[in-house]
Symmetry: C2
Subunit: 300 residues, 2 copies
Amino acid sequence: MEQGTIKMEHGSGGKLSKALMEEVILPAYGNPVLNEMHDGASVSTAGNKVAFTTDSYVVKPLFFAGGNIGKLAVCGTVNDLAMTGSVPRYLSVGMILEEGFSIADLRRIVETMCQTAKEAGVMIVTGDTKVVNKGAGDGIYINTAGIGDIIEGTHISPKRVQPGQDVILSGYIGDHATAIMAGRHELVLPTSIQSDCAPLNGLVKEMLIAVPQIAVLRDPTRGGVAATLNEIAEQSGTGILLEEDTIPVRPEVEAVCEILGFDPLYLANEGKLLAFVDPKYSSKLLEVMHSEKMPASSVK
Amino acid sequence: MEQGTIKMEHGSGGKLSKALMEEVILPAYGNPVLNEMHDGASVSTAGNKVAFTTDSYVVKPLFFAGGNIGKLAVCGTVNDLAMTGSVPRYLSVGMILEEGFSIADLRRIVETMCQTAKEAGVMIVTGDTKVVNKGAGDGIYINTAGIGDIIEGTHISPKRVQPGQDVILSGYIGDHATAIMAGRHELVLPTSIQSDCAPLNGLVKEMLIAVPQIAVLRDPTRGGVAATLNEIAEQSGTGILLEEDTIPVRPEVEAVCEILGFDPLYLANEGKLLAFVDPKYSSKLLEVMHSEKMPASSVK
């Protein structure tokens, strides 16, 4: 199967679907819940308050410096769960494969998803694979949905944003989008430009344990820091002042942006977060963030 | 916006994304949880045992006799949740739109989803919309994931299938796939051939209240009754005997199948279920199923 490509019959629900499941998907994800192979998974949560989110991933190219679509699909949903103030627990994976897609590539992606899920401490418990005709897709699209346990005592909401709060950014911005653009246009860039794609749930948990008073957490993905802060400003009815000097951008990312005419503030990140917090908690929060070995910078 | 088509910018996370959300999606789905517009929804479940499932929908044509891709996307996931012995509660919706897709068609689909969710008693609480380049999709692909409350006292598992159990089928088979094929090939068929696409959670709940001893529930979608029973046979290590006479197929569906060379047993259904149960509960179960106004037939 390794040398082959995806055929329409891999999505038929028949023998080839079964082979794909048994030879490619289960060996990577296999766990007692998924192995039940039911219409749905039966899972236990910590209590009766859960976070629930979904995202589809349609990135091009599928493989890029620092990751691939599979890593993105796990990190993205794990991070969205974390940003709601929850501990991510379970993921679903829905794949739409284009006829002719390389099975070796599929295996690489699936293995990365498994590895990233392990790293993030979440379980892939249910999934679905569909095949579309050649020319009706773009290799592979992945949807992940996720469930998390809401961390007690936290209440993350843009409604809790107040004038005077600090906005803390967890590190360099623009790395992910720059790596993707480089991959798309086959630019040769310094190897230091890599997607920042990473699960943030470990960091968020420590932050929320230390400072449950955090008002808002958000990861500045599509649309970047600018779109994310705009959305929060609108939802909260609060103006947000950015001091450009305090927002960290790698010189090499800045250089690429200058050449291509992009503004790093609008570029997607996949491993960074913004936290809104009362200034009296900022130093405590930054201490936790620094000890997690994530570069942090305060924007007021 | 109504006359327009989807542009790449509708997926950018910027102004057009926001307009699409505010003008098309929120007016249809809007509810207090979704309106929070967070990275994820925060929802309450009945206890700490939940069912979790996902499915992607890639049907062609998007509109067919008896429904459209949106109805399918809600019913499919609601039914998968029901088949695990749960009460479906919350859905996520991930849409992948192709550049150039008609916004009027999108609105029709979104409205159908909203209507079907209401009918099934579930809430659409979180979602995501991506746009792919023209030629990298097929109008619209929809992924739904869902969470349900496991009904206490039930234990649905193919491992509980035993020799001697009855297999109960809830009605006519092959209607959905026949309606789809007719739409795809622009065949003129009797208007009685319509997709059976419907939420089954109401029926399942009544069945499980009456007979919590049901061993397995499964909806024979992709691959039809044949693929579903094959899978259960394999998972349970039990042979299953079908008596052709007892499996209801509409004469007009049978006629179309004969012409096109299809076997109704392999055709997808979207509003039917199979239940495995000890014969001593069969008459009680059939009574409940008949009172729900669903045609039922027993296959032993």
